[in-house]
Each structure stands twice: as structure tokens, then as C-alpha cells.
Symmetry: C2
Subunit: 491 residues, 2 copies
Amino acid sequence: MAKFLTNKEESFSQWYNDLVIKADLAENSAVRGCMVIKPYGYAIWERIQAELDRKFKATGHVNAYFPLFIPKSFFSREAAHVEGFAKECAVVTHYRLKHSADGKGIIVDPDAKLEEELIVRPTSETIIWNTYKDWIHSYRDLPLLINQWANVVRWEMRTRLFLRTAEFLWQEGHTAHATREEAIEETTKIIDLYADFVTNFMGIPVIKGYKSPSERFAGAEDTFAIEALMQDGKALQAGTSHFLGQNFAKAFDVKFTNEKGKLDYVWATSWGVSTRLMGALVLAHADNNGLVIPPRLAPIQVVIIPIYKGSDQLDKISEIAINLKIRLEEAGLTVKYDNRDTQKPGFKFADYELKGVPVRLAIGPRDADQGTVEVARRDTLTKETISRDNVVSHVVSLMDEIHNNILKKATAFREENTHYVDNWDEFLDVIENKGGFVMAHWDGTPETEEQIKNLTKATIRVIPFDSPTEKGKCIYSGNPSDRRVLFARAY
Amino acid sequence: MAKFLTNKEESFSQWYNDLVIKADLAENSAVRGCMVIKPYGYAIWERIQAELDRKFKATGHVNAYFPLFIPKSFFSREAAHVEGFAKECAVVTHYRLKHSADGKGIIVDPDAKLEEELIVRPTSETIIWNTYKDWIHSYRDLPLLINQWANVVRWEMRTRLFLRTAEFLWQEGHTAHATREEAIEETTKIIDLYADFVTNFMGIPVIKGYKSPSERFAGAEDTFAIEALMQDGKALQAGTSHFLGQNFAKAFDVKFTNEKGKLDYVWATSWGVSTRLMGALVLAHADNNGLVIPPRLAPIQVVIIPIYKGSDQLDKISEIAINLKIRLEEAGLTVKYDNRDTQKPGFKFADYELKGVPVRLAIGPRDADQGTVEVARRDTLTKETISRDNVVSHVVSLMDEIHNNILKKATAFREENTHYVDNWDEFLDVIENKGGFVMAHWDGTPETEEQIKNLTKATIRVIPFDSPTEKGKCIYSGNPSDRRVLFARAY
């Protein structure tokens, strides 16, 4: 199957594109920059959705749905926000089509021009805070902890499946609070929730931290992010949580009466993760044989493949396989028995490797006679023969073992590729020749940050929450610095 | 609480609008015709989604996601489809905004005009069949059983919350088959699935049948629908399933090699239900006190309310209530314990009545002492006192009992309001003065159908699958007819 994929050592970028398409995750559509998420890719996204949704609800959040369209004028209300978002976006100007005079097609009806253009939401702070104005009057209405699962559109010029697409799917949380402290607590709670999810469900270790002011969300007072390291040494921002202060409350005049009877503006947060996480899954774990999906995330955790000649053998093996499937499902696993007679076992082996199914069980005539099953792990590509009596408990324990191994491998890779750098030449050398995460001192000015970015394409990914106080000198300006920050080239 | 709602006898339409807003289901947004689905309304929609999604997957369907935008030219490919859908829709013409010269706001950048306009999907047959062209080559690729959960936009001029909105949420299934027979079987399977869902999950009885040719989906060879009767005597189409023949395969050139090695066009179906079902829920079951949600659909099935004076009483009651909540949850029920001290019991009673929670349990100091619980049913508004030892099994059995009672009531209402009519005067009288379903003979011509519609606003809802062969005369033309069809005024 490896022949279908470009080797990642040869061209990492081509390997990624090949893999996303060959593993049936997604493909480009007829509409520039918009992708089709194929059933297998969507099944993984559904796993992401289900687990995040469960976590959101367990922390008191509820879902709602706000309009796809936002009146153009709403963007102008928050000064920073308009700079960040009201640029490259899809603009609806008309609401009707009609037949062309020559009868050869349909044209936009010039009489059906909207009075005010509508923007397809690139993010929903403005329309949501315009709505919250009617929902919030008193401290009793707070906190408001709302999440939305939605599609959003940002007219990106250079697109890549999952990583940067014009339309993408995401969730966006928008919460409203009575105090600054409570809003900051929410912002923190969510970045912790994201970190827990990406680490313990997707097997990808992350660094939590603050974005530098220039990398903040447009309209936020503070942005927290989680950053993960991909196998090509580039960073990927896997989730963000924003403390919005009272900016949107002021822009949309959302005031409440506090417990002391005084009017005050409401405090806000917003936070989101998107189908970009699908890209992270590929870039963090996949290999030259295809996807490697951590078991908790896998839509199919175990596949059973019969190896047989003739229908007598198949019948005998199927009986065993179906019984085994039932026992594995009773143990809480998601199992597929692939008894298609249109494909040979070798093809199936390679296909489930490509699709990253964590455990493959094969049963041949000898296994049927001897009461054994061949158990293959996707993460290590190792095989062993296990007695049928023990296979369920073995596979159940493999789920955690494989998750831990995938996470351990990704963590080791990150450790190996995290460089502590103390001068500019070394910084240039590492960024240019090694890649990875670079922990270095920065003088805290946007000018230096900008210069470093222009010269190296490396950006400050985050100022890690746990970066210890340490006196040092900025690698670029030589000015004093209190702590190291995380630099990297990024997706 | 009734004071918040207009009585439905006074103004059914005002009652509906009041209820949707007061029960926190949805509200109008700042964008014309687009609604905000509020958390409680969305929680009901999530129950609808979860159950339908389970049913789709149990019948072999998988989910995927296709682009929000459709190139304008795609609509022109299928002649009937363009007439039906490429009319009132949201048209994206530009992809960038910029600051206005006067610095007072943002304007559409005239330099960022799209070469071909994009339509916000009103339905996705065209973009999906354009994609299927690359997915389907051989009979081995069939059937393709794909569903999509998505938002769609149809620029309706007169909108009403849930019933007719510019943007709405839905699921759209799009399947591809090797034979006509198999596609028709799928079309039938889905209308049966919808009927089962609406009847046995939402407690609304439906009539299954064929749409007349003029009421078919634009591009379909046959449309099956389920029709439900609302409390004001109007019909509501609750779901449709379309047999598309080879129309879209021909329009998008989707051919496959069949088992005999011959090239043929693929056979198609499409089917959908939408947030309109939320409107049906209100219109079918609600009363002057608010919503009445059938238990299987209810996001909160049981609410427990403490009745107390002072914190000592509350502590004692809370211990009982929390224990009871746990036992009810262990029995599979969704339970809320509302111990807010900001609202009085009377307010809470009315509020959960308004929200349609099927069962309310109240525990006062005397109940605490005597080991009893007051059990109130939303459907009948009756109360009884039950011993705490028996309350769990009692409430569990109430779930089915309430569902059955709601369905029975709606079915009885439909029976009472289904009229068999044999001449034009009677037809006029019933449609004008009684409303409801009218079973009458029709000569099968679109001209007669059109005339009846123009004269009475009544349309043929369906030709019921189970309408028996019966010789008769068309109520309008007097021409011969083989069976009765179902007429009604409709939402």
C-alpha cells in the first residue's frame, strides 16, 4: 500500500496530501478552497465532536444555533475585530437568480440587491453579542455558557485540506460573565479542557500558553492557545481560548445589573477548535503506510479479517469471527468484520493500515483449528498470536497501551525537537536546519517579534504558562528578558 | 403562566409565535428571516438529531460533509431542478471587504468580484452528484448511502420561526444505486423510517403517500411524503423522500459499469427532514399552558422541585431529591433537580409546564416526613401522590403511558378532523369552515389540482399509500377517479 503514498522523507507536503485523499478523509471540491469531508474522515470528526460535546456539557455548557449570515455593519462595531475578520470573506449581495435573456443559463437578478450586504460568518462574536443584548439584564442571567457547532467561511487564498480551507467546521463557545475573574477562569478552564482532549483523546502532547499581543484574536484582551509539534518540525495551533474583556459588551451595549444593583458591561470569552484537528491527527502520527489513529479517537478500533479458501472455510471462520466481534463489542469496543469476497486479505491488510485502524485481527483455517487469533498493532506494526480465550481482554488492554505508546512517541519526538537557544546564530541555524520548537528569550516588543518573523518565518507560538522565570537576553535585540518563549515555524 | 401566552382559541398564529419565544425555543435574529435557535430549542433538536442519526446508521448510512457553496452553473444542469431551486437564494458575488474612502465603515471591494457567483446551498443534489462522479465507477462502488447534517438557505419572503425560515437546519440523504428497484426500495425505506420516527418518537401520527406530479421535488421522478395534521386543522409536511431516477446522474454524467460489464447511469434518491419538525412539535401537541413534549423527545423528562421554607427544610428535601434523581437516572431517565432559590415553586411549576417537561415531581416537608412524592403529568395536568419507594417504577412506566396518551390524543384529533367528501359544495364548506384532512376524489389532472388550489388554497397533500381503490367522481370536474386523495390547507 505504501506505493500509493509519497514517502514523507521524500516530500512531507505531498505525503500529507496523498494521505488525506487515499485514506478517504477529504478531497477538494468544485468550489475553490472548499473541501468535501468523506465518510471515513467525517466519522473521525464525529468522534471528535462527541467527546468534546460531552466535555462541554459536563462543564455546564449548552448548545445553541445562531445565523450563518452577519450584517456587514456589525463588523465595524468592534475596532480590532473588523481589522482581523472583515477582510477576506464571502459576501452575499443578492437574493435572487433569474433566467438570462438569451435563455442559456441563469444570472443574478440585478433587482434583487440586498440593502445591506451579508457576510458569511468567519466567526460569530458580533451576531452572538448582538443577541446577548436581549438575553442579559441581570446577574441572575449570568453566566451564559453557550457553544455552537457550525460551519464558517474565511476566504483564504492558499488552501490545504483540513489545515486551511475556505469553509471549515468548528465549534465556537461564547460565554458571558458577571466578573473579570470569572471570565478569565472560564478561558483557563477551556484551554485546559482542550489540552486534556488533544493529549488524552488524540494522543498529541501540547504546550499551553499565552499568545503574544500581536498574535491575539482580533478583539481579545488575552488569547490562550495550545501548540503541538508536527513530524516535519512545524508547530500547529490546535485550539484557542480568548478572554474578550468587555470589548464586545461595549461594542454591542450589553449591560447587566450586578448584585449591588449597579449597571456594568458583561465580561466575555470565546473559544474554538476546528476540522484543523483532522490535519493535526495526520501530521502528528501518520507514517508511510498511512494513518495511525489513537484508539479513543478511532471510529473503527478493531477490524477482523478472515483468511480462507472456499466457502466452507469462510463459514467456519465467520462463525468464530462474529462471536468474537460480539464479545469485543460487549467489552465496549467498535469492531468491523470485513468478510467482503471482492478483496483479498492482503488488500484489506494494507487498506486498514492506510486507514489507521489500531488493531487488526486475522483468523485463518489454522487459527480456527487451533483456537488462536493473529493480533496486529497499527502503531508498532507488530504481530502476535493469541489464544481465542484471551483475545478480548488482550485487545481491551491494548487500547490503552496503544494510546500511551502513540502519545509517548509523539512526546519523545517533541522533546528531541525542542531546542533551548541563546543567541541569534544558533536560532537561525536551528530554525533553518533542524526545525522544531525553539525556547528562547525575547524582549517582549512587537518590533522584535516582527523582525524575527520577517527574517526567519518563525513566530512566537506561545509564552508557555509553565515557562519559569529566568533572567536572559533577547536572542535578537540583546535586551533583557524574564522568561523564554516558544518560537517555531507554523502551519 | 398562561397569561404570557395568547390563547390558541383567540389567535392560533399568535399563540404559536408567543409559545416559540416564551418557551425559549427560538427567536428572530437581526438577519431577516434567519432565526436563533435558543439552548432549550436546540436541546430538543439534538434529541431529534441523535435518534434519526441512530436510525440512519442502523440502516447502513454514513455521514459526510459537502460544501456550503454551489457554483451557479451547477443549477442549470438539471432542467427541473433549476426551476425549483435556483430562484430565491443567497448569492455570494464578492470575497473581500475594505475600508470605505471616508473611513466611516467597510464596503465590498469591487476588485474582489467572483468570476462565477456562488449560491448558498438550498439543497445539495447538484454539488453532491458532481462529487459522486469521481466516486462511482463500478457496481462495486454501489450502493452509496450518505447523509449530511447541514444548514441550508432559501430566501423565503414570508418567514415564520421553524416553519419557514431563510436559513434552517436539516439532514439530507443522498444515495446512489445500481438499479431502479433498489433506489425505489431505499426511497420507501426512508419514508417508513421518517413515519416511524415522527409517530413513535414525536407522538405525531402521519399519513404516508405519493406527492402529485406538481408537488414533487424539482428533479424527482417520484416524491413520497408524510403529512401530519396540526391543531388548527392545517396539514404540515413532516418529511420527504425522493426517487430521483437517473436525472442527476445524467445531469452530472455519473455512469457505472454494471455486473454485466455494461455502462449505465446511476439511480438516485434524496430525502430530508428539518427544523420544521420543531414547529410540528408545537403545532401538534402544545396547549394554552405551553409545550407538551412526548417523553422520548424531551431533553428533560422529569423535573424535581423542592417546596420548602428555610435552609433546614431545603437540606432535608435536597437529600431526598438528589437520591431520587440518581435512582431515576439509573433507570435511564433524564432528570433535572431545580433547587434555585431565586424563584418560587409556583414560578417553577408554570415554567416547566411552559417548557413541556413530561413529569414534574414536587417534594414538600410533609412528603419528606411521610415518604411521598407528588407526581404531576404535563399531558393530562393531573397530579397524584405516590410513595417514594414506588416512584421510580411509576415514573418509568409513565414515560410510555404519556407517549401513548399524546399519540392517542393526536390520532383521535386527526380522526375527528378527517372528512370524506363527495361533492364540491361540501368540499368548499369543509375546507372553509372546518379545516382538517379531506379525503376526496380527484381526476388526476394538474389543471384540476391547480383550480382547486386557486379557489380554496387547499392542495393535494398526498395520494395515500393505503388509499383503497374506489370508483368515484372528481369533486371538481366530475371526471372518473380510482381512489381518494388527501386534500388540506397546509403550512
